[in-house]
Subunit: 212 residues, 2 copies
Amino acid sequence: MSTRVAKQRPEMRKEPRQARSRATVETILEAGTRILSDEGWAGFTTNRVADLAGVSIGSLYQYFPDKLSLVDAIRRRHLDDCLAVMRESRADGLSPVQFVANLVRAMVAAHGIHPGLHRVLLDEAPGSGDYGNPNSEFEIEYLGYYEEAVAACRNGRRGEADRTAALIISDAIDGVIHNAARRGMLADPLVQSELIRLVSLYLADGNPKAAA
Amino acid sequence: MSTRVAKQRPEMRKEPRQARSRATVETILEAGTRILSDEGWAGFTTNRVADLAGVSIGSLYQYFPDKLSLVDAIRRRHLDDCLAVMRESRADGLSPVQFVANLVRAMVAAHGIHPGLHRVLLDEAPGSGDYGNPNSEFEIEYLGYYEEAVAACRNGRRGEADRTAALIISDAIDGVIHNAARRGMLADPLVQSELIRLVSLYLADGNPKAAA
DNA sequence: CGTAATGTGAGTAGATTACTCGCATTACGT
DNA sequence: ACGTAATGCGAGTAATCTACTCACATTACG
């Protein structure tokens, strides 16, 4: 027997086997992402998602058992993308300040495509897994990278202060990006450079050698 | 003649004349505020507001012609409160950095009561007036104060850079406060002091004398 | 060519909710 | 006391909305 899919809440009702159906699932996810970003959780109805995706509502429910599993899949994708961006920004082996500069640029670029998505996923959309709430797997890893950068700037010994500093940086970046998006100013290069300056100054405080 | 209330969309259907009804309206506004903050726009139904306020749904509609006018009234109140906080913080005649320190403290205190309100009002709740969208009366005045502080730190000549700096500061503070609230860490004194440090460093950059 | 995978979309049942209306109670002026 | 205006009540409703099903059509695979 063993239908193979036997999780508590299966995230897919039926595994897409052919290329066609894999494309369908992809299209649905993309459409859902766009709607969440543009219209918020309120506009996110399964019928609308199917419409925008250009597939029938039936097809949607063939792969996602319910609305929640769809939004979960979207959230997972997005947060994994965020983590990937972080890992890449760090992998360059540059100074912490350069890390932040790269990160900000990458984050701005990422949010340029779906400006409202992050906020909607974190604040509006109901979450089933722990993905997305404070102390989630995601936030742990996410903040960990910031902590690393902070600690690297402050001679390595981590303390509560470093954890707080990581929060401050992460949340400040988040706020600037989100509000810039709200005002349609994400593309403004001045916003980007000033944001980098804000974070860099904070990071380098008391560490002149790390300033560049 | 002259019922005095003659706007295009009257914000009140009937003006409360006795003390009792004024208290009722106050209770309704308070209940609505709490629900918006705690449950978000999705949980904000007129019946729930009336329930929480301890008044009948009929009483609610006696003073607010529709749901939108209620949320508008709440928004107006909140944003006016924010502006009041800004004006007070500046009125002390202290240095720009002290202004920011006071402001952050006041903002944190304000958001401690209704942590989610600001975000919900700005991002989720539909707006009828221009109150709340970019370039609104509110944002103009709000950012104006920040610009003032920035300009004061930079020898007075305002330019595009100053406006951008004001945005950065405002949005960074917003982000930190909002995410701290989400994590239940608004009370953490470290968060507060580090936020002040973040902004102060940025403001004082290139202006050693303004550092304190 | 049999069968499994995929796609369709009209339809529905259920829930939600903004708002009304007829009436009860309370306060005010005289 | 008493007429009148203000205030308060809350069951009810009409309308909307939407998650989800199902019976059937089409496409691909072996």
